[in-house]
């Protein structure tokens, strides 16, 4: 009967051997990752490193990020704008660890994402070049922006009917709708949702499909809004693809983007109208309607002040005319001590019309003097007015 030792004794020896060889040493490796499982609340990430020969996996080992290094995963996603997920090739710094129960794994200490970033920059440049060459109506402006069929479309004065492209139950969807629905001015909006995934390899194709659905819908939309939430999901790949960028650039309904990235602008942003976040798109739309209403209120003010001016002017003219009429009325003249002379029931204006001994009535303010003409002679400017 062979002399058996306890399992723990063997494992202790393995542990000691590995410790002696690898303790306090780290290694840079480049490998493909697979079976990536992230536990965001605990800030752990489990994965496998593999190497292939053709399709056959020739090397494989478990890998892990613990909470003290989990930020490398987040940094990678932010810097490279892609999800840290199976299929990626990464360069990372690891140390070898052995656990008596769970075995051997590589604990990741750091990721070198310069390589991945460099690759992305090259791809982006290629897409931009291709857009310039192939997309009708697209011009690269001197400030680095694009002028496209889409972003040259005039926005309607008032935006009300909106086609919303968003992932179901996403932060972006919720933020956009909340701002739109709770606008304090009581503006009405009709938001129709075109749900799709907005990240992952199929996203660009699916978003193009939803745009096509919007174009062929029975309703007429004032604008298309594409939103996606923030969070740590920073997979922008679909928004940098030629297919989606090209489709948006030539789309005939204005496209407003709120795909939520503070630092980088996706290519779709460049060919449409970019707003940073879903909330900002919603605010922009509400403000546009508000500015229309304010312009209209200014016209209303001008109408009312115009009417007031016209009425004031007319009243002043009227008051002036009344004064003129009053000052030349017989009553005013009689009050001043003048008299009217009547002969044969007519006002006498020409003394030649009457002879001596004619009967006349001298009308004063309060009385009429019935008189007979005794004598006539020229005035001779006796009274100097």
């Amino acid at each position: 009967m062979p002399l058996a030792q306890k399992l723990s004794e063997l494992i202790n020896e393995i542990d000691a051997t590995i410790y002696n060889r690898f303790a306090n040493k780290t290694f840079w490796i480049r490998a493909e990752i697979t079976d990536v499982k992230k536990y965001k609340d605990k800030r752990w990430c489990f994965l496998k490193f593999i190497e292939k020969d053709g399709n056959a996996i020739t090397s494989e080992i478990k890998g892990v990020f613990w909470s003290n290094t989990y930020h490398h995963v987040e940094n990678f996603e932010r810097e490279t704008q892609q999800i840290f997920a199976s299929g990626l090739e990464i360069t990372c710094n690891v140390r070898i660890r052995f656990h008596k129960r769970f075995g051997l794994d590589l604990e990741v200490m750091a990721i070198d994402f310069a390589y991945a970033v460099g690759q992305l920059e090259i791809e982006r440049k290629q897409t931009l070049d291709r857009l310039v060459k192939e997309t009708p109506g697209l011009q690269l402006l001197s400030n680095g922006c694009f002028s496209t069929v889409n972003n040259r479309l005039e926005l309607p004065t008032v935006l009300q009917k909106i086609a919303l492209i968003t992932a179901p139950n996403s932060d972006g969807q919720r933020d956009f709708k909340e701002v739109i629905e709770k606008n304090k001015y009581g503006y009405a909006f009709a938001v129709k949702e075109f749900l799709t995934q907005v990240q992952g390899d199929a996203a660009a194709f699916l978003i193009v499909q939803q745009l096509a659905n919007i174009k062929s819908a029975n309703e007429v939309f004032d604008a298309v809004v594409i939103v996606r939430g923030g969070g740590s999901d920073t997979d922008f790949k679909s928004f940098n693809t030629f297919e989606l960028s090209n489709y948006v650039a030539t789309f005939t309904i204005p496209v407003l983007t709120g795909i939520g990235h503070d630092r980088n602008t996706s290519i779709v942003d460049l060919v449409a109208r970019q707003h940073k976040t879903p909330t900002e798109v919603a605010t922009f739309i509400i403000d546009k309607n508000l500015s229309f209403e304010q312009d209209m209120m200014q016209l209303k003010e001008r109408i009312f002040s115009g009417v007031k001016n016209l009425v004031d002017t007319a009243q002043k003219k009227l008051a002036y005319n009344i004064r003129i009429i009053k000052s030349s009325s017989p009553k005013t003249i009689l009050n001043k001590g003048f008299a009217i002379i009547m002969h044969d029931n007519k006002i006498l204006t020409d003394p030649a019309m009457i002879d001596v001994n004619s009967q006349v009535q001298v009308i004063l303010k309060d009385e009429i003097l019935h008189s007979t003409i005794n004598k006539k002679e020229p005035n001779g400017n006796k009274l100097d007015f």
Partner: protein, 63 residues
Amino acid sequence: METSLTFDKAFSELEKLVEEIEDENIQLDTLAAKVKIANELIKYCEVNLRIITADIEREKLNS
């Protein structure tokens, strides 16, 4: 009021009315009618900013 009114049309008609009213040579007896139209245009916009009507949709389809 016209059935095919839009925000843009209402606005440009209002602008026209403002110009007319700010012109001193306006016939005063047309003023009341102009103010009435202006009020209707403003009301149209106020209401339609806050209610989505089928009219707007139809009008846009026709244009």
